[in-house]
């Protein structure tokens, strides 16, 4: 029987992976994803790209809400800032698209200080509402600063190109999004095992106790906000690059709620949970379409004008079901089923 708990050194406790097999499985999964364009049509490929891009933002929210324990309803705002920063930097300032992506993240990180600084004195629900206020304010500023953002008309975005190689087209951008997601997963996994990651965990579990243990609350809370906003800003830039057009209406408050649903469905504070959650929530409408196909044309035409509400209903029901039945989310299901098979036939 494999055992993962026996460690003889401190380095072993904080290492990225305790089993060499994990690396091989990861590489195999990555290789499968790299071959995916061969199987999927343009629709399927677009779907996967969206999942990758959204996962980056959800990883960021997961760091803030799942790991550091600060509820945020303001991530739609950061996503919006990232997307507009990408559009404006590449169009008006002629900055290379690849360089603009981290800059978009940086702009979002700086903007996060607007919420981060009041958050130093706020907790829990007061904080959630302040971040909600932030989203409203950002949307408003973007709508009314027409000289910079073109207001409600939105603006087109240049395609991604790296050193003269253009990433136009579904297939090329798919690889760009995959590479970006792998990079951010790697950063997150490493961040979680450093002093910073552990400080965030302590802050989530009890902030006053954490302070008594010598963790500078102000520094780590602000850092959590900035890092999380950076991720989401980068995700926003990628969204802009994928859709090639930004508009305020795309980034409603509902996006923040959807993102929270993703980390709940996936499992709070888990890296693979964030990605699984994003995938499940984004694939739900596809399942719905399959169901309609099975039910025939009559049902489809009947439901066609209500599709948005039916999707909303599904999100809500999925959130409620996961909270009631599986609070650990998909990551919890994964852990339990893995343990079941590892310990079989002794599993309970």
């Amino acid at each position: 029987m494999r055992s993962r708990t026996y460690q003889v050194s401190y380095a072993g406790l904080v290492s990225l992976s305790t089993q060499p097999a994990t690396w091989w499985w990861s590489f195999a999964g990555l290789a499968l994803l790299a071959l995916a364009p061969a199987w999927f049509g343009s629709h399927g490929l677009n779907m996967l790209t969206t999942i990758f891009v959204v996962s980056i933002g959800v990883l960021g929210l997961n760091l803030l809400s799942g790991v550091a324990g600060q509820i945020s309803l303001g991530h739609a705002g950061f996503l919006l800032i990232g997307a507009y920063a990408q559009a404006i930097l590449t169009t008006d300032y002629r900055i290379p698209t690849l360089l603009a992506i981290p800059m978009a993240g940086g702009v979002a990180a700086v903007a996060s200080l607007v919420v981060g600084v009041p958050s130093l004195r706020l907790k829990g629900l007061y904080l959630a509402i302040t971040t909600l206020a932030f989203t409203f304010i950002v949307r408003h500023v973007v709508l009314f600063a027409e000289e910079v953002t073109r207001g409600s008309a939105g603006m087109p975005v240049e395609a991604l190109s790296v050193l003269g190689v253009s990433f136009k087209g579904d297939q090329r951008f798919y690889y760009a999004a995959l590479a970006m997601l792998v990079l951010f997963v790697f950063i997150t996994l490493n961040l979680m095992r450093t002093r910073i990651g552990r400080a965030w965990l302590a802050l989530r579990d009890h902030d006053i106790a954490a302070r008594a243990m010598g963790i500078d609350l102000m520094r780590y809370k602000l850092l959590a906000f900035m890092v999380s906003a950076f991720y989401t800003g980068v995700a926003g830039a990628m969204v802009a690059l994928q859709t090639r057009f930004v508009n305020v209406d795309t980034f409603s408050v509902l996006i923040s709620i959807e993102a929270l649903a993703m980390i709940i469905v996936g499992g709070m504070g888990r890296v693979h949970g964030a990605i699984l959650g994003a995938a499940l929530i984004l694939l739900l409408p596809e399942l719905l379409n399959l169901g309609f196909d099975a039910a025939g044309d009559g049902v489809r035409t009947l439901m066609a004008d209500r599709i948005y509400e039916i999707k909303g209903l599904m999100y809500g029901v999925v959130i409620l079901l996961f909270l009631r039945l599986e609070p650990e989310g998909l990551a919890g299901i994964w852990r339990k089923s893995k343990r079941f098979w590892v310990q079989w036939p002794l599993s309970q």
């Binding site: 809400s65 509820i71 607007v114 600084v117 009041p118 004195r121 706020l122 907790k123 829990g124 629900l125 007061y126 959630a128 509402i129 302040t130 909600l132 206020a133 932030f134 409203f136 304010i137 408003h140 709508l143 009314f144 009890h206 006053i208 106790a209 008594a212 408050v253 709620i257 929270l260 649903a261 709940i264 709070m268 209500r306 509400e309 039916i310 909303g312 209903l313 999100y315 809500g316 029901v317 959130i319 409620l320 909270l323 009631r324 609070p327």
Partner: protein, 290 residues
């Protein structure tokens, strides 16, 4: 000066709507320590149900109000029993997310059942402008102001005189001690949700009487947050005052500064207020032990 007075009056009217919403938030927070993010959606659902009731031929405003209140009490109790009580003891994050999930579900169901187009709500008091001391008000606006005032007084009496109100204060202060003193904590939570649905009913009716029946009603829940925060999440009367202040502030900002500032003035105000007073103007500071 006349312009100023008009801005203040319409600010007070819209503020009384915010106040009603904020009181609904505060009473749930007081009894159960959580924010009901579905308050706006409950308000929307009750407004649509009351629209269906109002189309019954020959129903007067009195019977309608009684029916709507009965429906809202039942709705509040049902939500508490089915969705909230099973989550007792779970982390705050999960409990709040339940209300967010509920909000999404209610909004979708209401639109699926009643459709998305705005509909004119019957006007039981007519549509004639009532002039009073140089101010012109519609009957719906007077309804909003009067309901806020009456409910404020009732709430003050409820919390200071009635047995249940005092039990509710005890529960919010310390749940375990309240339980040991023989208070039925579960019942208190049910009553709080029923009361918050009653506030939602008044807010929903006032909204329909002033504007029309439309899915936008649910937005009032989010727009009521600044009022709730300004008054302090745990102060019911504070929420009413906060609503009036926010309403007037928004209207003045929109009227004198312009550029659509009306929409966000409240949110800007609370970010500033929270930096100075993290528990709102009337909220109590939470003291916790490690």
């Amino acid at each position: 000066m006349n312009y100023f007075l008009n801005l203040v009056t319409s600010g007070l009217v819209i503020g009384s709507l915010y106040g009603l919403v904020a009181m609904g938030f505060a009473i749930v927070y007081r009894a159960t320590g959580m924010v009901n993010f579905a308050q706006g959606e409950v308000m929307m659902l009750i407004a649509y149900i009351s629209f269906s009731l109002a189309t019954i031929p020959g129903i007067g405003f009195g019977p309608l109000l009684v029916c709507v209140l009965a429906v809202s009490v039942l709705l509040g109790l049902a939500i508490e029993r089915v969705f909230i009580r099973p989550m007792l003891g779970e982390p705050m994050f999960s409990r709040v997310m339940v209300t967010i999930g509920l909000a999404v579900v209610i909004r979708s169901v209401v639109i699926l059942v009643w459709g998305v187009e705005p509909t004119a709500f019957p006007r039981p008091f007519g549509n004639a402008v009532i002039r009073f001391a140089g101010l012109a008000l519609y009957p719906g606006q007077i309804f909003a102001l009067v309901s806020l005032a009456v409910l404020c007084v009732l709430m003050w009496l409820f919390f200071s005189r009635s047995r249940i109100g005092i039990a509710m204060r005890a529960t919010s202060n310390n749940e375990t001690t309240a339980l040991l003193m023989g208070i039925n904590v579960k019942r208190i939570s049910g009553i709080a949700w029923a009361l918050s649905a009653v506030f939602a009913a008044f807010a929903g009716l006032a909204f329909c009487l002033m504007f029309s029946l439309e899915p936008e009603i649910s937005q009032m829940g989010l727009r009521g947050f600044p009022a709730t925060i300004l008054g302090g999440l745990d102060s019911v009367i504070g929420g009413a005052l906060g609503g009036l202040v926010i309403g007037v502030f928004e209207n003045l900002a929109g009227g004198y500064l312009g550029r659509g500032l009306k929409e966000i003035a409240g949110f800007v105000l609370i970010i500033v207020v929270l930096m100075v007073k993290p528990y709102g103007l009337f909220g109590q500071r939470e003291i916790e032990r490690v």
